[in-house]
Symmetry: C2
Subunit: 328 residues, 2 copies
């Protein structure tokens, strides 16, 4: 049965199971961008592709691999969900620019240039100094533009982000973050970045991860929706969408691995702290994919038109997918 | 300009260059199955994909990556050549069955289960003992059938080949070899194998590599064409094609590497010998791709109908591609 509305989520990293795929289906999601890599090198990432290939075989009634925007329309029509692969780091391309196209061939459609730390390509949002996009970074952005792999700067620092927007010949994305004017976390984005995103026809996906929310797990739906309205004032209505950063059913060991990978001997707590190291509780209005409709209703409640709700909930991402995933 | 006839070559391993791509074009080849791996593990094979991706970018007026039979028709129409990837060994899937689908995603359409030696999947044609298809081999054949990766037994031994034909639910191929009744080389195939190929709608590609030819480099075109006619008596007219095994412009170090890889401390001479270790000279009627038309004319000269010439020169392979490359 076709999904009644077009809902797209631009980031999830769940502990995947049949239960969650059913919830995605019940929630009416036609497309989800899923993270398949945080710290993995190329061949470790390939094993994650293999694990997904198995899921596509086992749950073909619910999900399939998305490669183009047409796959989103197909998913909506068939009442299934197109799964788009992304990396939260550039580790799978190692130091080999030729792997950019290979990763695209294996289904990758988003790649963050950095994950919190300095990478070979740019600077992460937790570094003290931000020298900007590196020599290799400039080459890789050009190659990503060519093959149709989206530059994602969600976990990158200010200068690197602004330079990536400038260097990239195609729009970029911040798939999951919120504005600092609402909640000044290191992972959230300045007004300057928001403006540059809007002016370049790039996208921001609003995160529901509590560390990105004003008042954390106690954030209200109304506050979240008002923040979206305020961001639209800065960026315009066509460059914003949802990117929940949902990490459903993950044990706390996973967030520890996200933060520490194999790069540190000291323990890094990222957005958490020694006394609050685990995953935070989700806000009560967004527990899992079935609550997507709450955001839609929340936007209506604060006065969004039907048309603007549709743009934010999925159509803007679909337009972005149309412009981004095909090779030049 | 469209190619006037449909010519397909089911195996080449040249020292690729613009010159050779131009010759393929002049020769009127609409499709060539190229070897991109002999001994490489997965990630080494990926580097070969990367090298080919660069060629596809640099010589897009002459070649492009072939994935389906439709790409052959497209190539013929446009006067270009669709390049189909194949492996002469199962080394790229290492011990991981999940890599079968990943290799198919990266363009592979043929994979030999063995290259001369025993592999994890079956037995090579130079082993003394041939226990047949292994436990993993049975699983991998099933997976290759599912994803649309052709089982190629060109360098395999008798029992393993017969078992592969039996186990595989889709037709298999021997992309490059000749019958032993004509020239009794270890790499050539028995009448029993030929019959089993024909009965299973599998394919044999006739090789022009001198070690597979009666009288080697001095083999006459007439003898080669009469051999094709005699094979058609055994296999029928619909299951035979060309697989030249052309290794143009390769230095002798390459054939040494093909034979020895990293598996032996002693030097192996394969089909050659200590006193004749290098690449043999091509027969004068097949120097490079521009001589493809000589085979076509040779078949006409010994009495093949126009229709049968078309079958052998390309249409049989095209029908096989139609049946083989799509996932089940």
């Amino acid at each position: 049965m076709a999904h009644p509305s077009l809902f797209i989520d631009a980031l999830q990293y769940n502990n995947w199971s049949e239960e969650i795929f059913k919830q995605i289906n019940q929630g009416g999601l036609s497309a989800v961008h899923v993270t398949i890599c945080y710290h993995e090198d190329f061949q470790e990432m390939v094993q994650n592709v293999i694990d997904w290939n198995r899921r596509f075989e086992d749950y073909s009634n619910l999900i399939f691999l998305g490669r183009t925007a047409a796959d989103v329309r197909k998913a909506q029509k068939e009442g299934r969900t197109a799964i788009f692969f992304g990396y939260q780091n550039c580790s799978p391309i190692e130091d080999n620019i030729g792997l950019v196209e290979v990763c695209h061939q294996l289904g990758a459609r988003f790649m963050q240039l950095t994950y919190n730390n300095q990478s070979l390509l740019g600077t992460g949002c937790y570094e003290e100094n931000d020298p900007g996009i590196t020599r290799m970074g400039k080459q890789v952005i050009k190659e990503m533009n060519r093959v149709g792999l989206v530059v994602d700067m969600s976990h990158s620092s200010e200068k690197s982000t602004l330079e990536a927007i400038e260097i990239s010949e195609r729009p970029i994305a911040i798939t999951h973050a919120n504005p600092t004017f609402w909640h000044p976390a290191l992972r959230n984005k300045s007004n300057e970045v928001l403006k540059a995103l809007g002016e370049s026809n790039s996208m921001l996906g609003f995160s529901v991860y509590p560390h990105h929310l004003k008042d954390g797990s106690d954030c209200t739906l109304e506050s979240f929706c008002n923040m979206i309205a305020d961001t639209a004032e800065i960026m315009g209505m066509n460059n914003i969408g949802i990117g929940t950063d949902l990490c459903q059913n993950q044990p706390d060991s996973v967030v520890e691995w996200m933060r520490n990978g194999t790069w540190t001997n000291d323990r890094d707590f990222g957005e958490g702290s020694a006394s609050f190291a685990g995953f935070p509780d989700q806000p009560e209005w967004f527990r899992d994919n079935r609550d997507f409709v709450n955001i839609s209703n929340g936007l209506k409640s604060i006065g969004f038109s039907e048309n603007d709700v549709e743009l934010v909930m999925g159509k803007n991402w679909l337009n972005f997918f149309d412009a981004s995933f095909e090779s030049l």
